[in-house]
Symmetry: C2
Subunit: 356 residues, 2 copies
């Protein structure tokens, strides 16, 4: 058990931005929400999975929508608590802990803000070990833990509680409601007992995010390469260092989709994304695919570059980071592998480190 | 108080098909559902609004979606009860009565089926006095009675409970969920007390439907004009008698939209619809507009012709029927007048009877 205070949020936001592989919502906005909540209500208690009692009631909370939109249409600040309370009302069970559904961008930080507001502890972990674009893409799906009941709240005062036939139906219906209400809603779902956490979560990812964020900050101060500092902590593989020369982006079906091209020394790396970076091809050859993490950092500062903030002319470094091993099982790849996203290729593990 | 038995359903279905102004879902399917439920569980008790105690809990149940789809994707038969129970669970209040949300097509008959199944009485009335395509287009909206909480159930086992900031948001979110789950869902919403019924309902419309259905049946047996028999009961105005020479239809945004042209003696009547017939223009001149009822009958048999069953070559008679006066107030016309549906014209009352 430890405490997260105001001064910890900056590192966590930076590290979660890296692990978010370009998605998970704008980490800057999440940072502001978490910092404001901690300033108002005091620090947040963080517990490890091992410290959670087996009968605890752990609720992931998150933003669901297109990151594009969440940057422009700010939350009114009450949605997450509204969603949590709607879930508690529907189930008649009170949450004892909150946890991130994904360790990525804003969605890593929203649970910290809610924890500060409610006084509930946060579990150090998340249900993906990265960010993914769809609600059913969580380890609980692999473990047979339902997303439903799922509470959804928007910024207009609308709430809904879904009870769905599958986790995929939760995604489909919540996504449709999200699009209808302006492409950014807040969710509380996938209620888990403490005993289910080892199956449902990747352990320690809030702390990992904080270490990554601190490593980047330290490297920057020491004028060493921030990407090297990140890679050293997470077995990262450098995929490209270069300049963004092309970005295509469209917000369709409730997602931010597109491609970006990074020109390196004599090579081009093309990234494809649906909220998150999902595929990296070097000169036409895939060198990293979902579910491995494809992370883009500003070369100079090590700051994460999301699929939304990437712009022509950015100088960036792209890292590949191995995913949680549960995602590369056959069942994991059916849920989040390249073919699910429509790419006509199989998952291939990251190649050994090499410079280009 | 009276009973509705198996032998009453046929007339009610025919009359509700007429009052449904082309929409409300396939009356034949509704008839089968109601007849099957009455065969299995016995007759249904129908009470007038005056017979409902002020503290009664009255729940409208309905199908929401595109009639096109409901004809092809049949309900599994449990959706309405699932929606009712979800609403009761969410509110902690048990329904004492059910009622049609609209007196149109299938949606007039679904409450009869549910009443037979649950043993609850049906209130003789409905919340529109016709059918309209969108969920907020009910007298309760004019009376300040919320649609929310709204329970929605589909054929796949998905349910949701919405609590919305307005009745329009209930329509928008439920419609989005409807489209996501296959364009046909079942709803329980707009929970009313007995005391609210005079404001929230048009009285006696189940009985009116039955009388209309019986009048058509009798006229047919007597070889008199069924449309005249209908017109005599409801101050109907004959707008056209002729042949359908053109039908355009598309299922978009969760609705069946289109136009149909009827060639009469030297004139053409063009009907525009969104689930229901909303506008009738004779040689370019509007002769009937929403919220007045535009009803299409087979000329020979008097059987109602829905926007879905209308086909090239049908011989039809088109009647205009005056709407409930609450719909032609300024607030009523803002909700269901021609301009809401995108027609660039004001409501005009039906002209006096004339033959063309």
């Amino acid at each position: 058990m430890r405490e997260i205070g105001f001064s910890d949020v900056d590192d966590i936001a930076r590290g979660a931005g890296i692990l978010g592989t370009g998605g998970g919502g704008d980490p800057y906005l999440g940072k502001l929400l978490a910092e404001a909540a901690i300033t108002r209500h005091g620090p947040v208690t963080v517990v490890t999975i091992e410290e959670v009692p087996p009968d605890a009631v752990v609720v992931p909370v998150a933003m669901l929508g297109a990151p594009t939109v969440s940057q422009e249409k700010l939350p009114n600040g009450t949605e997450t608590l509204t969603a949590l309370r709607a879930l508690e009302d529907a189930t008649g069970v009170a949450a004892t802990h909150v946890v991130p559904i994904e360790i990525g961008g804003m969605n890593s930080l929203i649970p910290l803000a809610l924890a500060a507001e409610t006084g509930l502890p946060v579990v150090d972990g998340d249900a993906m070990g990265r960010a993914f674009p769809e609600a059913q893409m969580v380890l609980p799906t692999l473990a047979g833990i339902p997303t439903s009941p799922m509470a959804v709240a928007d910024d207009k005062g609308n709430t809904m509680v879904l009870r769905t036939a599958s986790n995929l139906w939760a995604e489909r219906i919540a996504r449709a409601a999200c699009v209808a209400t302006g492409c950014s809603v807040f969710t509380a779902d996938t209620m888990m007992t403490g005993a289910q956490l080892p199956d449902g979560l990747v352990a320690g990812t809030i702390t990992l995010a904080q270490r990554l964020g601190a490593a980047v900050r330290t490297a920057r101060a020491a004028h060493t390469d921030p990407a090297d500092a990140v890679a050293a902590l997470v077995e990262g593989v450098r995929l490209a260092t270069g300049k963004v020369v092309d970005v295509h982006r469209a917000t369709t079906g409730g997602f931010a989709r597109g491609t970006a091209t990074i020109a390196g020394t004599g090579t081009e790396l093309r990234l494809s994304f649906q909220n998150e970076y999902l595929l990296a091809e070097r000169d036409g050859d895939p060198v990293a695919t979902t579910p491995d993490l494809i992370c883009v950092l500003e070369t100079d500062t090590g700051e994460p570059v999301t699929t939304e903030t990437m712009r022509y002319g950015n100088r960036v470094t792209v890292l590949g980071i191995p995913t949680d091993p549960r995602w590369t099982t056959p069942a994991g790849l059916r849920l989040v592998g390249p073919r699910y996203f429509g790419y006509d290729l199989d998952y291939r593990p990251l190649a050994q480190p090499q410079e280009n």
